[in-house]
């Protein structure tokens, strides 16, 4: 019973942490290049819709997932044009995207699905695959933890990739340099705008993946309550993780664990109001931000407008 509970908690943690990991990786890339992207919530929302809708029409969760990345990238491009080329305030542009994403997703949903605010569900076999299915005896300890959708493994793999790119490659050095001191980077012949464009577009792609990781893997359709703040939680995770991909990953796992407790508690028979329980991840976000935000250090030029001479 205890082992079963542990397995359930860990497995559920992985499941719920996954969309957060994608999105917080996006935030990490963008903010390391010096652009704050609070529009990730709206992009995630859009990604969830695109993933489910395209997945439904193409009969492939994977195509939906990739399409969500592409559309997320386009929203990232929009944010980049506003904040980099037109030097708009990054927070204002992000808020606009947070209105635009859900609004646009809802409009398309009503147009494509007979006025419904949700998409039609993907059949189980068209969702993202579970490559380890059958490797362990069904419902055994490891099966419950590790038998997950491919998007889960991909998320952790991408943590490694983003870490490697940021800290081990020429591109990563340049991304971090424009986030710390764009003027210095510019005097060394680095194209600050180009690097920031790439990073912000990448953040959109990742947030799009994050949204689709909910709608074509965890569940099998898009609903308007599906994302409800996960983009913001992912941003909090990025801050709690000190703007580092591995840090953000651990923070996402913590939030995922909070979500797992929300799902787990009713099974224990302990009576806790479900409304109170579902507040848990959000309260955790608040507490962590209050306690840790002052202490972690953002890239120096994060959120600051840079203009070429």
């Amino acid at each position: 019973m205890l082992l079963e509970s542990i397995a359930f908690l860990l497995g559920t943690t992985l499941m719920y942490a996954t969309p957060l990991i994608y999105t917080s990786l996006g935030g990490t890339i963008s903010e390391n290049s010096g652009v704050v992207n609070i529009g990730l919530e709206g992009i995630m929302f859009m990604g969830a819709f695109i993933g489910a809708a395209i997945g439904y029409y193409t009969h492939s969760g994977w195509i939906g997932f990739l399409a969500a990345g592409v559309v997320g990238g386009l929203f990232g491009l929009l944010h980049a044009v506003a904040c980099i080329s037109f030097t708009a305030d990054q927070v204002v542009s992000g808020i606009a995207i947070n209105f635009l994403g859900p609004g646009f997703a809802l409009l398309l949903s009503r147009l494509m699905f007979d006025g419904a605010a949700m998409t039609l569900p993907l059949p189980l076999d068209e969702k993202i695959s579970r490559p380890l299915n059958g490797l362990f005896p069904q419902n055994s300890f490891f099966d419950v933890i590790l038998n997950r959708y491919s998007t889960v493994y991909l998320a952790f793999f991408l943590v490694l990739v983003v870490w490697f790119v940021l800290y081990k490659t020429k591109l990563g050095l340049r991304i971090r340099s424009v986030g710390e001191h764009p003027e210095a980077a510019a005097t060394l012949g680095i194209d600050v705008y180009k690097i920031r464009y790439m990073s912000v577009i990448a953040s959109g792609v990742f947030a799009g993946f994050g949204g689709a990781a909910v709608s074509v893997a965890i569940v099998s359709q898009f609903r308007i309550t599906l994302i409800s703040g996960q983009g913001f939680i992912a941003l909090a995770a990025m801050i709690f993780g000190k703007w580092k991909p591995q840090g953000a990953m651990w923070a996402c796992l913590l939030f995922g664990f909070a979500q797992a407790i929300v799902v787990f508690m009713p099974r224990t028979g302990i009576e806790v109001s479900s409304q109170l329980l579902s507040m848990l991840p959000y309260i955790l976000t608040l507490i962590l931000l209050v306690v840790f935000v002052g202490k972690s250090v953002a890239p120096s030029a994060d959120g600051k407008i840079y203009e070429k001479n």
Binding site: K168, K170, R176, E180, H181, E183, A185, T187, G189
Partner: protein, 509 residues
Amino acid sequence: MNNYDFDQIAVEMKGITQKFGSLVANDNIDLTVHKGEVHALLGENGAGKTTLVNSLYGLYHPTSGDIFINGEKVVMDTPNVAIGHGIGMVHQHFMLIKPFTVVENIILGKETHKHGVLDMERATKEVMELSERYGLTIDPTACIQDITVGMQQRVEILKTLYRGADILILDEPTAVLTPQEILDLIKIINNLTDQGKTIIIITHKLKEIKDVADFCTIIRRGKKIDTVKVADVSESDLASMMVGREVSFKVDKEESEPGDIVLEVNDLHVKDNRDIPAVEGLSLKVRRGEILGIAGVDGNGQNELVDALTGIRKAESGEVLVNGNNILGLNPRGILDHKVSTIPQDRQKRGLVLEYSIAENIIIENYKKAPFSRKGWLNFPAIREYARKLVKEFDVRPDDENYISGSLSGGNQQKVIIAREISNNPDLLIAVQPTRGLDVGAIEYVHKALVAQRDKGKAVLLISLELDEVINVSDRIGVIYEGKIVGEVKAEGADENEIGLMMAGGSNS
């Protein structure tokens, strides 16, 4: 010095004119720099030195004039063109990325890599080779935020050498250095010219020009005054060419007549930001009508002492009496009310709100009082009238009280602060590095203002890293070392070597 080759001209700028709207920043300037020489550009703040080198480095595009590098005419469109022609520039405000390591900063933009993956081993090796070759000591794996300003400057120089620079432009390189670091820099410059590098150095410190430069071109109000061989001229010749009139280095002052004690500090203990004791049992006294100068190497507790005296930082223990009243533990406004005024070390961070106008900065300590405000409403006509009076009296240029403080030159920013602090009519004036980054004209002005306060019977506490300044301006000198006053001498006839020894922790006997 004297490594230059008269037959080879590294840089030739002919008839450079640079206009910004109606302002002529450079007016038909010629500059010839030979290979292997150290060429100083001397001029007051705003004379046009930096504008001239910025056009050499491709940051500005001259309205007219030509630039020749090693005899070849070059159009400097961007810094990349300049870098391609072997020109490197060390900016006055370092262009370094603080959380990055030394090597990362040096290779950024020209990284050693295999298929995009950084090859830090090769980078470190290449950087260390350069470092050893030119005697630029660095710690390759340290982060910029953890190393000294002197080492940061060596990193900046290495950045240019790593890009193959043969002609180095150093913009005010000594402004941020300690005396020891300045000596190190001079050695480095000699090393560089020994190996055939050409150096253009912008400065307004005459002593350094005498120490390091072969030739000096003097620029005044955008025009070239002359190019002289440094060995043939004296410091005062250079100064009068720069300012256009005779300048006195010696501060003229009468013997002081000390009166009652104004400031008395007893056994003060203050910790620094890292919670390490910085001021450890410091005691001093300043009387009416005298200037006490505090000499010392940077980082011996000067900043923490000033912070504690002005109420910015909490002291651990001790006593600070102003006219007999303990001010320790009061907030900055409470200390102001005890007639203590301060000229802070960093005029841009603590002295002024750069976004505010001159008038707003002038009343920033007294805005609550009549006539500047009534019942919470600011009385702008009264504020402007008062500011206009001070701007005239202290000769702030431009003489427009609505001018934004951040656009003033350093010397004029300092004048605004001095005007504000002196017009408070303090009993104690604390001046911290009051001439930092100022040109000789402005320095003379500040020194006279301090002596004038003394002559009015005020007590003045001068804290400076420039030993010359402390000796010239003060009546008494206290030497600070590791948070204590380790020795005290009369300024008149003071022995620079003796003070230097105490500053380094040597004994006073």
